[in-house]
Symmetry: C11
Subunit: 141 residues, 11 copies
């Protein structure tokens, strides 16, 4: 995932052709042949099939463009605010908190682990004797 280094200083060179480099929304791709298909032996008239194709593409593009014009920039604005706040919170609060949590947990694990090993190790070592006398006699023929 090699992202351009100076992304935040000059973020302009946006790829206008491939608008989903991470294939994030691959599952919402809807071309005509993804939704409609006529198997062999059941073909409608060519005019009907071609007209359906044109209708589907035209209406879908038209409709989507209208909607994206209406809500594209506002949504981008709102999500930018949200992400900034959450990032700030994670970077200055949650990160150190996780570090301190791990310090205490790894200390607690020493006490608890030594108790468990003291109590359980002899029992399970004894259980292990079940498998200490496996004799297998193979005979090929």
């Amino acid at each position: 995932m090699a992202e351009p280094k100076s992304m935040n200083s000059e973020p302009m060179p946006l790829d206008m052709e491939n608008r989903d480099p991470n294939n994030m929304n691959e599952h919402v791709r809807v071309l005509f042949e993804d939704a409609f298909g006529e198997p062999d032996g059941s073909h409608s008239i060519e005019g009907v099939w071609g007209m359906s194709f044109k209708t589907f593409n035209g209406v879908k593009n038209c409709c989507y463009i209208v909607l994206s014009v209406l809500c594209g920039c506002p949504m981008a604005f709102c999500w930018a605010m949200d992400f900034a706040c959450v990032q700030c919170c994670h970077i200055w609060m949650v990160g150190p908190c996780v570090h301190m949590w791990k310090m205490n947990v790894s200390c607690l694990k020493m006490f608890w682990g030594s108790c468990v090993h003291c109590l359980c190790d002899p029992c399970f070592e004894a259980c292990g004797l079940c498998f200490s006398l496996i004799r297998v006699q193979n005979k090929n023929g």
Copy 2:
């Protein structure tokens, strides 16, 4: 899945022969030999068999073409509207929402995971001692 690059700019060159490139509706293919078949030893008169074949194909094609003329374009129009709305919703709302959800969940996983590992690791490590004394004595003969 190599789709033609400029699909949405000039969507005309529609393949009129193979109308189901993704084999999406392969399971609804119904030729005469998919539905009818006479095993050896039980053959009807050739006239009856040939006539059934002609009847089946004629009626099925005729009937399907009438239905597709009636509902082909309207259905394409309706589905185009639906897909455009759903796509818009997924692209501008659900996508960023999924990203933010993952940010929080991966943070929560750190706290929860360290607790679980602290409590369970010693127990299961002790359990693992059961398998630490397996002696197998093979004898071929």
Copy 3:
């Protein structure tokens, strides 16, 4: 499954010899030796055996041909109507509906999957420690 390309345009060249190319009704084949058989040591008189053979074949063929003449074409007509309607319904309604269903389900799977992985992964990783100390001591002799 290489079907002839222009099947629906000129459907005439019907194979009159092999009437079940897909072996669809192989299980209803009934020749005389499929139903009757005399083991060694229990053979009836040759006249009786030959007469039974002739009777069986004659009656079965005669009876089947009469029935097929009566119900062959009408059945083909009815099934053709049915298949045409069902195909139309699947092609213009069910196909796009399945596509939209999958779009939503794959989106839902992201949320649900990240929760499940967050909660269960540490537990099962810990369980996996049981198998991390397997010592096998083989002894051949």
Copy 4:
């Protein structure tokens, strides 16, 4: 299973020696040595043994031939009627019905399968982590 091609046109060349080519009734073969046998050390007088052999074969053959003369051809006639009706029913009714059933079921399987995979896949993927840390230490000696 290479059956003679023109069986139903000239069905005469019936094999009078091997009357069970498919070994269908092999389990009802009853020769004298299949039912009676004297082990070493317990042999009856030769006259008794020979007479039993003759009695068994004579009575069995005689009795079977009488029965087959009486019921051979009538049974063949009845079964021929039955099989013709059942075949006709399977060929013109059940065959297309099975095809249509499969069309609908394979469609239903898409909806159901995507739900199941959405819900269960993350759980079982997490379960699979149990087996992701297997360390086996072999020691030969």
Copy 5:
């Protein structure tokens, strides 16, 4: 199992020495050494042992021959009647009935099997993910 071809036409050449070619009654063989035996260190007087041997063989042979003379031929007659009737019933009734039963069952299996595969296949495919992440780290030493 190569039986003589013309068994039922000339059934005379009966093997008078080996009267159980299929070893059917091998388990009822009773020679003197099968029933009596004196281990080393506990041998009775030779006269007693020899006399017991003669008594056993004489009485057994005498008794068996009398019984076989009385019931040999009548039993053979009765069993021949029985087997002829049962064979006739199996050949002309049960054989075709089994064939028709299988025709219907294999048809029923198509409906039932497609339902079961539709419902259960996704579940068990998901279960199969448990085994999709097995990592084994072998260490020889």
Copy 6:
């Protein structure tokens, strides 16, 4: 198991030395060293040991010979009668009865087996999908 061919005609050549050729009564062999033994460090006087040996052998042989003289021949007579009757019953009654039983059971098995396979096969085939995605990643080191 090659027994002499003409056993029942001239049964005289009885092996007087090895009286248990099938090792049937091997487990009732009782020599002095099978019942008595003095370990190292606890040896009685030689006279006592030798006298015990003589006493044991003498008494046992004497006693056994008396008993065998009394009950040898009568027991042989009784058992011979029994075995002759049982053999006759097995040879002329049970043998053909077993054969007829097997005829009917193998017929019944066809009906029952096709039902079971029709119902259970799809279920277990679906269950088998659990094991259809096993991925094992071996790492030697």
Copy 7:
């Protein structure tokens, strides 16, 4: 186990040194070093140790010889009577009885076995389909 052939005729050559050739009473061997032992660092005075050794051996031998003189021959006499009766009973009664029992049981097993195989075989054959689709994908690295 090659025992001398004429054991019961001249049973005199008794081995006076090794009185337990079958190691039957190996577990009752009691030498001084089997019961007493002083580890390094805790040695008593040599006189005490030697005197204990002499006391133990003397008393044990003396005591055992007295007891064996008293009860050796009478015990041998009693056991000889017992063994002779039991042997006689096994040889003339139990042996033929076991043989007749096996004759009837192996006959009964034919009836029972064919029923069980008729009922259970199809079920378990169907169960076996679970293992008919195991796909293992190995990856070494």
Copy 8:
């Protein structure tokens, strides 16, 4: 993890480009293409897409910088205090305490372990006899 040796004496050379060398907050990275993406066939107008991109980046950067200016240094101050106290507590109190705990636990383990081994070892050794008679007969064909 090779950290510069004299970190606490001259901590100035801070890497201003790569501000997360341990990839600790990798999961909170949010570029435009991480949150938004248009699949093929559903592209909005270039102006809308470019404007959304500019809006998102501008607002997010602006907002984050304001927040970091406000709470960066105060948070660093607080966390420094916390970490210093916790470190001091761990170094001078918890460390020796863990050492003393381990001393006592390893002592207790000796008593408990010898009891467990005394009681359970014979039982599981006996259980292990189940696997002491495995005979496998392979047949390749």
Copy 9:
């Protein structure tokens, strides 16, 4: 375990150095370094350590010798009486009794074993069909 042959005639050559040739009382060995030990970093004054060593050895030896003088020979006398009686009982009573018990048990096993094999063998043979259709498809990659 090669013991001197004439042990009970001249039992004098007792090994005064190694008094536990069978390592029977190895677990009661107590030297000073088995009970006391000072780890590195915690060494007491040399005088104290040496004095403790001398005290321990002196007191232990002195005390043990006194006790062994008092109870050595009497204990040896008592145990010799006990062992002689027990040996006598085992040799003349228990040995033959075990032999007779095994005679009867091995006879009983014939009756019981044939019943069990008659009843259970067909069932488990049928169960074994579960494993008769294992198909494994390996794929290395």
Copy 10:
């Protein structure tokens, strides 16, 4: 773990650079980049980031040094007292006590183990017969 031999006589050469040779307190290490990190695309102003770095290091070092000056030597004094007492107790009391405990336990194990082996060994040996008839028929293809 090669520690200098004469540690307790001249314990002065203390390593002032690497103050944790056993990596005992590795988990409480807190550098600035362990607690704070800004992912790509969310960088605050350089002044803020540098200032936070300086603040964190300065405050943490200052605070820790003050605390260590206050409680360093007193804590060392207390722990030294504790460890000395505990060591003395373990060396002169617990060590010999453990040794005596093991002496008695290993003695008890002999009695208990022989009972368990006497009772359970025959049962589990019989269970082991289940695996004594494994026949595997491999077929590669």
Copy 11:
């Protein structure tokens, strides 16, 4: 474990340097770096660290020496008395008792084992038939 042969005659050459040859009290070793450690980035002033080191070693050594002088020899005296009594008890009482116990138990095992083998062997041999028909069909691809 090669101990000097004449340990109890001249026990003087005590190793004054390595006072724990069996590493018996390895777990109570407490050097300064076993209890205290400062990770990188949190180093106190050198004076404080050095002073803590000196304090810890001085106090611990001083305290331990005082305690060992007080209780060293008395403890050695008491333990010597205890060990001598326990050893004497084990050598003259428990050792022969264990031997006699084993004699009786191994005798009892014969009776019990033959009963168990008589009853259970046929059952488990029958169970073993489950694994007698394993057919594995491998397919590599």
